[in-house]
Amino acid sequence: MIGDTILKLNHISKLYPGVTALDDLSLEFREGEVHAIVGENGAGKSTMIKTISGAIEPTQGTIEIEGETFTKLTPHLSRQKGIAVIYQEFTLVPVLSAAENIFMGEFIMNGMVLNRKEMERRSAELFERLNVKIDPTAKVADLTTGFQQIVEIAKAISKDAKLLIMDEPSAPLTISEVEAMYQIVDRLKEDGVTIIYISHRMDEIFRLSDRVSVIRDGKYITTVNTDETNKQELIKLMVGRELSETYPRRKNPATETIMSVSKLTGNGVKDISFDLQKGEILGMGGLVGAGRTELAQLIFGSEKIVSGEIIYKGQPLNMKQCPQAIKAGISMIPEDRKRHGVILDMTIKDNVTMPSLQRISRHRIINRNREKSVTEEYQRSLQIKTPSIEQKVKNLSGGNQQKVVLAKWLAMDPDVIIFDEPTRGIDVGAKQEIYQIMNDLADQGKAIIMISSDMEELLGMSDRIVVLCKGRMAGVLNREECTQERILTKAAGEE
């Protein structure tokens, strides 16, 4: 089943002015295997993919495809050799149908006009091969993210891909969609397609891959057979040092109730009731679309409450807009960091002081010294790695960007912090730091609501878990009674 070498990287180096992205990297992929690549952000995974897909030219080294040696590839050549890449950002045109997207660039023509029938027929065949039910005539915009990804995969294999590179394919997917994606990977493997699978999520790697290669700082570290290793070992290889417990423990127990939500309705959720205590982390589980983010928006005041109320510090919280929630001491770290969390083109300092700007100003004139000292304080305490606080946020890694979002809210000294997918797209080392910060905040008596689709994170971090299903409460689970199965059954609305 697993056969000869299909692709080989020989001593590949890629130098940018002042930065070595890949450093004498040699790696070998065998036909028909699922080969996982792990490494922290900035380890050189994307540069490696780009080298294989022909998007960039290596400074040194050669690439060997089925015995043929190249000093560089072009995107066209790479595709010709049967290599396809599924990037995190899809390359689909939302207004076109699934079939049209699959054959984009190589439309099947009937003379001067598109042969839609034929494209739809062939698309249906592809979907059948992947064992999914998607209507080839459906507009991509109307499909769920999971189905969109499948269209993307279908597009890749329609060109007879022999080697499929998947860059964090599970990142945009919900739990059930991820399961469907696994099955597709299995199906492709049966068909003899070689898959290079890049992921941060350990459970995926152990579920899918035959072998795992570790990359660190642009260097090849090692390749191991998946069934001969374990999670701790992999993490150790990735970060190059021993990490303590995956989920740090907390010292102080929860104290009094700070917020009571009762029969909250609006923005697509209905009749939500729960209590939130000082010093606890309240997890929020459910499938994507269950209404978790929508509920957070209601609590944060960015969407309107239709009925029900929030009792906050003994008083009904009456807000029309988020500035009022912020003033009351509620903060939200949004799911889509780049769109809602930070302003990429502004500096760290500008971002950190955004909500608290009026506090550090006199007569609306900004006090530059206080601004600097506040930012530097959080830069130190959260360990934001940057040459200067005047650095634009877009130049930071995901983990550091997330710390900037945290810093801007901590500067407001909030009592309630809502984390929406706090570690999405963040590498292992930085994840640990974020967890530690969340625990420290809870220990300081802050109340934390954490929305997460990462089951391990949800179970590991939460004191209690509220599970939502289709916009309604499916239940509250205490730490002792939490298991992955119970959450999933509740989330699926079966309990």
């Binding site: 930065v19 809602h340 955004m354 700007l357 100003s361 040459p387 650095q391 130049n395």
Partner: protein
């Protein structure tokens, strides 16, 4: 010096310096103090309007009605002074209130209806044009008090134009608002990422309203100076000024997509256009050739600026990567 080289305006500043050196060599008349005061008089209005215009651009909007705001501000101020015989200072005050009011109406319609600023201000431009012509019937209004005309034509110590003082004052106020106040910071935040700004507790509507209001206010000051300089009010005055402002701002590195740019950049943009027009005129170059040269220099300025910014960004990014690794 290092700070200067790294600053965002360095690219366009170099273009300006190059132009001045070129004209200085090409024409002995160019490098005279009097000529620089001439240039300052010639760009005073467009400079002042550009300050407000760049506020609106930075918040991610645009105000195409600036040209006919000038027209209506001028005409109304002239009618107040001339036809109604009000004290000139009172008339100017009314003109400024009117300008601010128009800006606020623009802003209010934009923030409350969410119609694209381009459409709202384009409609407003046509409305203002109509009102302006309704008032004047296309005829000129002139003869104003000497004290008023001095604002546009007078000098201090016989050499420094009063309009230059206004220009400098507005530039300082503009820089102050944009760099030192909460509002300036919010202008940038909204222009860069309105969602993130809103979720950070910024009152987006209020800030946008303010940008348009300030634009109207500054425009009215520019309009009054223009009236004093021309000593004559016509409805056609100000036509096309929105594009002069847009050109100056864009040449000066203010992004038409919002979020980027400085008052200093916009003013350097005005100066580049002003120096170019003045220098070519002093060299007595054929009108058609002037147009070609103007277009070329503007293109070079924008290209040079974009390239140097890109280079700067790249260096910064690499530095950031190095620190993280």
């Amino acid at each position: 010096m290092k700070k200067l080289v790294k600053s965002k305006e360095f690219g366009v500043l170099m273009v300006l310096v190059a132009l001045i050196i070129f004209f200085g060599i090409a024409s002995p008349q160019f490098m005279k103090a009097q000529n620089f005061f001439n240039i300052s008089k010639q760009i005073a209005t467009v400079g002042i309007c550009s300050v407000g215009f760049c506020f609106v651009l930075i918040t991610g909007g645009i105000d195409l009605s600036v040209g006919y705001q000038i027209s209506l501000d001028i005409v109304v101020t002239a009618v107040m002074m001339n036809t109604l015989g009000l004290n000139w200072a009172v008339a100017c005050l009314i003109g400024m209130l009117l300008g601010t009011g128009i800006g606020l109406v623009n802003g209010l319609i934009i923030v409350e209806t969410h119609v694209a600023p381009l459409i709202v201000t384009l409609s407003m431009m046509t409305i203002l044009k109509g009102i302006s012509y309704l008032i004047t019937n296309g005829l000129a209004i002139f003869k104003f008090p000497d004290a008023f005309v001095k604002l546009g034509q007078g000098t201090i110590a016989g050499i420094v134009p009063i309009s230059l003082l206004f220009l400098v004052a507005i530039i300082i106020i503009g820089i102050f608002i944009l760099n030192k106040t909460v509002y300036g910071r919010y202008f940038y935040a909204i222009g860069n990422n309105v969602d993130a700004a809103k979720l950070s507790g910024v009152n987006v509507k209020k800030i946008q309203l303010m940008a348009y209001g300030l634009c109207g206010f500054f425009t009215s000051i520019g309009a009054i100076l223009m009236l004093a300089r021309l000593n004559s009010a016509q409805s056609s005055t100000g036509d096309g000024y929105e594009f002069n402002c847009l050109t100056a701002c864009v040449v000066g590195g203010v992004s038409s997509n919002g979020g980027k740019g400085t008052v200093l950049g916009a003013i350097i943009g005005c100066l580049i256009v002003g120096v170019l027009e003045n220098g070519l005129a002093i060299m007595n170059i054929n009108e058609y050739i002037q147009e070609v040269i103007k277009g070329l220099v503007l293109l070079v300025a924008v290209i040079y600026d974009t390239m140097s910014l890109l280079k700067n960004e790249k260096v910064k990014k690499i530095k950031a990567i190095n620190v993280e690794n």
